[in-house]
């Protein structure tokens, strides 16, 4: 105990080591170890699983989706570890068996305002972070870069088939999709009958195809190759087979494809500029 200027004794808290060695301190350390270990495991899983399971990244939108899932996994890991850690620790240390008679009553802890407020504050902060992240991703994935002249593709869904047409490249149609790399594309999607959903899994975009309404979605393909187009809304008998391919070609190859289909390549397009 220290003595202040007026001579009366002011209690000070014991040093940290002593506090940690106390029963309450041992408890906190014990649980802390469990929670940290669980966090590490969950973090490792959370960092690994997005890339291990999501499809190839073929567009900037898919990139944004992957980083969102990664960030959310990382944010979730300590929360899950805390809850599960406390549950597990409790079971290990205070388990009193499954006899016919109950064990003695535990301590009458009815609540703690500090813990409640702390919990609400932390969860609100976390929620706010997720929200800000989400809103910024939403804005960036739905805003086309300034000055970009996007390729417009009309997508028509019907039971059980997609038809694609290129209104600004001569108005021809095709049963499968071909896109130029690194050029923003805007899909104008509609349906001839029931609700379908136009989904490019590797490009992370999806929008419903509705009858009598045109919905829009856009992205920029960033990888050459052949990817999938799927229907993601149950539309009847052959919904499972409402799939086709999307081929991403580089600029000149795409122009050649357009010409081969009887269209006229759009030479004013800002092709080849991938602005990340």
């Amino acid at each position: 105990m220290s003595v202040d200027t007026e001579g009366s004794e002011v209690p000070t808290r014991p040093p940290v080591r002593e506090r940690l060695a106390s029963p309450a301190g041992k408890l906190v350390v014990g649980v802390g170890v469990v929670v940290v270990v669980m966090s590490a495991l969950l973090l490792a899983f959370g960092i690994w699983w997005p890339n291990a399971s999501l499809p190839t990244t073929a567009s900037d939108t898919e990139d944004a989706v992957k980083s969102t899932i990664l960030v959310f996994s990382i944010a979730a890991a300590p929360v899950m570890a805390l809850v599960w850690g406390i549950g597990y620790y409790s079971l290990r240390h205070w388990r009193h068996g499954s006899g016919d008679e109950p064990p003695e009553d535990g301590p009458p802890l009815r609540g703690s305002n500090r813990i409640a407020v702390g919990w609400v504050v932390v969860s609100s902060v976390l929620t706010a972070f997720l929200l800000v992240w989400g809103l910024s991703e939403l804005t960036s994935t739905t805003t086309l870069a300034a000055g970009a002249k996007p390729l417009v593709v009309n997508v028509t869904g019907q039971q059980w088939l997609w038809t694609f047409s290129y209104p600004e490249d001569g108005g021809f149609s095709s049963p499968d999709l071909t896109l130029p790399k690194d050029r923003p594309v805007v899909f104008q999607v509609s349906s001839l009958d029931v609700i379908h959903s136009f989904w490019l899994p590797e490009m992370g975009i999806k929008v419903d195809a509705n009858p009598s309404v045109t919905t829009t979605v856009s992205t920029t393909p960033t990888l050459l190759g052949t990817f999938q187009v799927r229907c993601a809304e149950l539309c009847g008998l052959n919904h499972s087979y409402m799939e086709t391919t999307v081929k991403v070609l580089d600029g000149p190859a795409f122009d050649a494809w357009v010409t081969a289909h009887g269209g006229k390549p759009d030479v004013t397009a800002a092709g080849g500029t991938s602005n990340g």
Binding site: G87, G111, I115, L130, I195, E243
Partner: protein
């Protein structure tokens, strides 16, 4: 002047002991239902013959005829008709209606005793869950191998749709039906519910809906999922009409039940039971009922419009005739999101009710739990369009709905805080209900976190309509709410039946279900992320391994559930007889015999404290149950 004539009330009518009321039962109900359905079918076919919609109209007429006939035949309208004719029921009549001295027969008629209705709901919930589970086995069988046509797309779509709706109905009634009806009135110190006849009506309105659901199979099925999106539902075979009629029945039934539960909890609590002393389970049941009352009618309206579209050439949902498919989607999801909380809250409240008993500690932050439940109810009506992020409807609302959806994680977090706060430093009694509490903790955490992923709009654009969503809601509804429901069943089993639940078989079934469940749906998360759509009968080869794992896991769940079923039946017939309070719990239902007598309490209790006073020596916090007949009624009351 000192003489006063005592005016006595007119004597109550005495029953003749016979009468139509005593002759009506389930059998007469089925008979009358079938007869009226047939009459309605023939009349309907004749009246509306020769137009495109004739079959739909005849089907709707037949289904309505079935239900009305059934209700007439089981005697649901006897009391109102007698009232209209001035022939009020006598005391003997009312006791007959309550099932007095009728043995097992009382479960097969229009019995008003809340305990009978509770048992009836339990059997119905188990039956519908069994049917839904059977359909799930079929679905997983089809998905076991790509490229194979085991049932084919048409049958598969119907399997998926009917599995979905039957499971939704089953999980909605699963906790509130049996335990809200059986336990809650006793838990609040009442003799019955506020409206006993409506109680019976709510059950017997739901009962005929089940054959209506099953008749979908005979009417060429449904091509939609349980969400029955228009305009695909407009295109559907007559099975869609049966679906719509069944939904309308279900919503009417749950509305009646919800009103009953709310009024009972509000007005019939025992003397001294202020809201601060009300068990959390009661709070959960009231919150659920309120939410269901607000939300479920949207589904009913959506289905009425659907029936009009299909049978009377209305154009609510047909875009090129002035309707909108988005009208349907909004109506549906205005129901659909609150509805998942209607499923979740009772299971959660049951888990919160059991946690103090098996940790021998007060409910940690009980007020936080109440706040959490109320906030869940309030927020859940504000998030519906997160199911429509990719629909193209109102893109400017994506941000606001993302906000409200992510806000829901805060009250959910409060519930977790209360649960782990109760378990922390408790003396954990690892009897079977405690296992279910831990199961809930594991599963619901995963379900909740994956919901956060889906609430982010760009992520949802990738994950919507794929198996990630399916795995998410199975984790919350099956892994959370239903595990809680199973725990509730084990917990209150002895109160309902007077016998202890067989914990050896129960524990084995718990582990089998948990392992099977996690295997099934973790593999499904993977497949969903990898791009496999939902509701597909066939898939690309890269999803084969995940699907095979899910199928094996699903069969394992099936085995576990069958074991649980065996445990239920075996314990009901041969279980160890139990005393009134085997768990040494403190809520009022544990101070009456197991099973409780017809009038629950000999003397209605007076409550002086809340039921979570574990570890508290001060008797001000314990609950007095008043004088109770029966052995060992007071044991554990003051511990």
């Amino acid at each position: 002047m000192a003489e006063t004539t005592a005016v006595r009330p007119a004597p109550a009518p005495t029953s003749s002991g016979g009468g139509i009321m005593r002759r009506l039962n389930l059998g007469t109900g089925l008979l009358a239902g079938v007869v009226l359905a047939a009459v309605a079918w023939f009349v309907g076919s004749a009246v509306w013959a020769g137009n495109d919609k004739a079959t739909d109209q005849a089907v709707i007429a037949a289904e309505i005829g079935w239900v009305l006939g059934f209700l007439i035949g089981i005697g649901a309208f006897v009391a109102p008709i007698r009232w209209m004719l001035g022939k009020d029921p006598s005391h003997e009549d009312e006791m007959f209606l309550a099932g007095k001295d009728q043995g097992v027969g009382r479960y097969f008629r229009f019995t008003t005793d809340h305990k009978v209705v509770g048992v009836q709901y339990l059997v119905l919930a188990m039956t519908t869950f069994g049917v839904g589970g059977l359909l799930a086995m079929m679905i997983r069988t089809e998905l076991a191998a790509p490229g194979e046509r085991i049932f084919g797309g048409e049958v598969y779509n119907s399997l998926v749709g009917v599995h979905g709706i039957i499971m939704i109905v089953s999980t909605i009634i699963m906790v509130v039906g049996p335990w809200g009806n059986f336990v809650m009135p006793i838990m609040i110190g009442a003799r019955d519910m506020a409206f006993p006849r409506l109680n019976a009506l709510s059950f017997w309105t739901l009962f005929p809906a089940v054959p209506v659901f099953l008749s979908i199979a005979a009417l060429r099925g449904i091509p939609t999922g349980w969400v029955a999106y228009a305009p695909l539902s407009d295109q559907a075979p007559p099975g869609m009409d049966a679906f719509a009629v069944a939904i309308i029945l279900f919503v009417i039934s749950s509305g009646i039940g919800a009103v009953n539960l709310i009024v009972t909890a509000l007005t019939m609590r025992a003397r001294g039971m202020t809201w601060n002393r009300t068990p959390i389970f009661v709070v959960g049941v009231v919150a659920t009922s309120l939410l269901g009352l607000i939300a479920l009618p949207c589904f009913e309206v959506a289905m009425v419009y659907e029936l009009l579209d299909r049978s009377m050439e209305a154009s609510f949902y047909v875009p090129d005739q002035g309707g909108s498919q988005w009208l349907y989607a909004n109506l549906f999801w205005l129901m659909g999101h609150p509805e998942v909380y209607v499923i979740l809250i009772p299971g959660t409240a049951a888990v919160l009710e059991m946690a103090p008993v098996f940790a021998r500690k007060p409910l940690f932050g009980a007020r936080l739990a109440v706040i959490g439940i109320i906030a869940l109810v309030a927020l859940s009506v504000l998030v519906w369009a997160h199911h429509m992020f990719v629909s193209g409807w109102a893109p400017t609302l994506a941000g606001p709905f993302m906000l409200t959806t992510e806000l829901i994680s805060i009250p959910t977090g409060l519930i977790f805080l209360v649960l782990i706060g109760t378990i922390w430093r408790g003396n954990i009694w690892t009897r079977l209900p405690m296992l279910f509490i831990y199961g809930f903790l594991w599963n619901f955490m995963i379900g909740g976190v994956t919901g956060i992923f889906l609430s982010d709009v760009p992520a949802d654009n990738e994950l919507h309509g794929a198996l990630f969503v399916t795995a998410h809601f199975h984790y919350t509804l099956l892994g959370g709410a239903m595990i809680g429901a199973m725990g509730a069943l084990v917990y209150w089993f002895s109160k309902m039946t007077g016998r202890m639940f067989d914990e050896k078989v129960g524990k084995v079934s718990f582990y089998v279900v948990m392992i099977g469940f996690n295997v099934t749906f973790l593999a499904m998360f993977y497949n969903g992320l990898a791009g496999m759509p939902r509701r597909v009968a066939d898939y690309q080869p890269q999803y084969e391994i995940g699907n095979q794992i899910s199928t094996l896991g699903a069969y394992t769940i099936g085995i576990g559930m069958l074991l649980f079923l065996y445990a239920i039946v075996h314990s009901w017939r041969h279980g160890t007889p139990s005393g009134p309070n085997p768990w040494h719990a403190k809520t009022l239902e544990w101070f009456v015999p197991s099973p409780p007598p017809l009038e629950n309490f000999e003397v209605l209790p007076v409550v002086t404290g809340d039921p979570y006073g574990y570890g508290e020596v001060d008797t001000h916090h314990t609950t007095h149950a008043g004088a109770i007949s029966g052995p060992a009624g007071h044991e554990g009351a003051d511990s």
